[in-house]
């Protein structure tokens, strides 16, 4: 455990020096504030509290931004050590590869948690400031924070796996961008296209829920939208959220990080310095 904490402390320091903490936090706060400001216009006729609407918009934001931040922080984790030539020495220390990965994960998760808490917090302050009654939606805000951290953990693990597979930072960066595009953007587009062509029969009722749960980003969206009863204001793919039981999307959120870290460890074990 002390090995994990020491690695995490060192990684956090490096991320801080490389301005990653600042960049991640700045990005989240900026986007959250923009959304909170923009989202305040069309809410007059919706029968939910102000904060739930903000949470729904933040969910759509987080689906894109959290995986992106996680991949940006993680793609260098193994490949960077290989390129700098620091890996052989590290691996002669009495520390296991799992401990190294968990140490990095802990540091990166801490940064991500800080960034989303400050970002969402800024949006919360804005929502409550203009409508004090909005504070009753605080539960959905807390849920959004911890589920964002879980979503981040999944993509951090995936980033480590790609980093170990590529073994070169440039290659790992390319793979990370590809993964983000496929998992977060193209996947949803493909689903939408299928729904449209299918016209609401077999696919939409049977396969769509499974397809949404199989993608951590969609599971995150479905979980937050259905838990927050904000499905009505969400629309799009989120509209399908009502059909999926809450425990299923929650399970997907918890299982994916474990799966991603297992993958990362398997890829890291194959790296010979």
């Amino acid at each position: 455990m002390s090995c994990i904490l020491a690695t995490a402390a060192s990684e956090f320091r490096i991320a801080f020096r490389n301005r990653w903490v600042l960049i991640a936090t700045g990005m989240m706060v900026l986007f959250a504030l923009v959304l909170a400001a923009a989202g305040s216009a069309p809410t007059g006729d919706v029968d939910v509290d102000r904060l739930s609407v903000t949470v729904a918009s933040l969910t759509s934001l987080a689906v894109y931004l959290v995986p992106l931040l996680a991949l940006l922080m993680s793609f260098d984790a193994v490949a960077g050590e290989v390129e700098r030539g620091t890996l052989p020495l590290l691996l002669t220390y009495p520390v296991s590869r799992l401990q190294i990965l968990l140490g990095k994960l802990l540091a990166h998760l801490a940064i991500l948690a800080l960034a989303v808490t400050l970002g969402y917090g800024a949006a919360l302050v804005m929502a409550v400031w203009s409508d004090p009654g909005a504070i009753q939606g605080i539960g959905s805000m807390v849920r959004l924070i911890w589920s964002s951290v879980l979503l981040g953990a999944t993509f951090l693990g995936a980033g480590y796996a790609l980093s170990a597979l590529a073994q070169r930072p440039s290659g790992a960066a390319g793979l990370a961008v590809a993964l983000w595009l496929v998992a977060v953007v193209l996947y949803d587009l493909a689903l939408l296209a299928l729904i449209v062509t299918d016209g609401g029969s077999v696919f939409t009722t049977r396969a769509l829920p499974v397809a949404l749960l199989a993608n951590p980003a969609d599971a995150f969206r479905v979980f937050n939208l259905s838990a927050g009863q904000a499905v009505a204001v969400a629309g799009g793919i989120g509209g399908a959220a009502g059909a999926i039981p809450l425990w299923q999307s929650a399970a997907s959120l918890f299982v994916w990080p474990l799966l991603a870290i297992t993958l990362a460890l398997a890829a890291f074990r194959k790296v010979t310095p």
Binding site: C3, S10, T92, P94
Partner: protein
């Protein structure tokens, strides 16, 4: 005494290339062995196998009685890689503290360790600003953590100035006196000659020579060179007596003779008395011995 490091019949192939062929050696506690060999002779490969960084094909390796790379072995082995690198964003002190924590030691003693290698003044500067020699010292400092029983040093003195090299070997002397076995590779033969107990020469993946410098000198049986300066005007008469000698442009007579013939030759030269002004005996240098062994394989 059980050896700290035992290697028997170790073989390692990279695809079709045999990097190490049937290498066997043992290193006792407190002994300092120098691993010599041309580039690509297998020195770094052997070190990485001892550290458990890469697998091997056949043979046996035992490090402090454990399998190489096992948690128990890694606790007792320290390594200094060739061209050691660290994260440039960390300071020397932070980097050493991290390594101390990984070995379960108190991270607060980092400044003392850095002071031991002469880096106290730069401990709080980022490693990115360090010179190569300073990075090498950070590498050295991390290899001193936790009293290792085996030190594996890959070209440890590269990038160090002569004074730092001497300090470095003084540090090693202290460690070996405490029972640490040291395996180091180097290209600087003169320092290896003076500061190690035995020499191992790898050539083309094979251990072609092993022993103290005196052993190797006897094994190689290289000829000794005698340089004779004749008195003025006696060069031609001397050359007539010793047709086997060659006369250099400087007027010196150069003899090359096997070790066994040295004394009789010396006697016959000194018997000439006033003809000879001066005489030098030049034993084969470490370079000569080294190239003798590493060339045997057609390298």
């Amino acid at each position: 005494m059980t050896p700290t490091l035992t290697i028997s019949r170790l073989t390692k192939c990279f695809q079709s290339v045999e990097a190490l062929k049937q290498v066997s050696l043992a290193l006792q506690p407190g002994k300092r062995a120098a691993l010599l060999g041309h580039n690509g002779a297998g020195k770094s490969t052997m070190m990485k196998i001892i550290l458990g960084l890469i697998p091997f094909d056949s043979g046996e390796v035992s490090v402090c009685g454990e399998a190489p790379g096992s948690a128990a072995a890694r606790m007792q082995v320290a390594y200094l890689p060739e061209n050691v690198a660290f994260h440039p964003a960390l300071t020397g002190e932070e980097q050493i503290s991290h390594y101390l924590s990984l070995r379960g030691e108190n991270p607060r003693i980092a400044p003392q360790l850095l002071a031991r290698v002469g880096l106290a003044h730069a401990a709080r500067r980022r490693i990115g600003t360090y010179s190569k020699g300073m990075r090498q010292r950070v590498g050295l400092a991390q290899s001193l953590i936790g009293r290792p029983r085996l030190l594996v040093l890959d070209e440890p003195t590269s990038g160090l100035d002569p004074v730092s090299r001497r300090d470095f070997y003084d540090l090693l002397d202290g460690l070996s006196a405490d029972g640490t076995a040291i395996l180091l590779s180097s290209h600087v033969l003169t320092e290896v000659e003076a500061r190690t107990d035995s020499i191992l020469i790898l050539s083309g993946g094979q251990l072609v020579a092993e022993g103290t410098l005196a052993d190797l000198r006897a094994q190689a049986a290289l000829p000794i060179t005698l340089l004779v300066r004749p008195e003025e005007g006696r060069a031609t008469s001397l050359a007539a007596v010793f047709p086997e000698a060659t006369i250099g442009s400087d007027g010196m007579l150069r003899f090359s003779c096997p070790q066994a013939d040295k004394l009789p030759l010396l006697a016959s030269i000194t018997a000439l008395g006033p003809e000879v002004a001066d005489l030098d005996v030049i034993p084969p240098s470490l370079e000569d011995i080294y190239s003798h062994f590493s060339r045997r394989d057609g390298q």
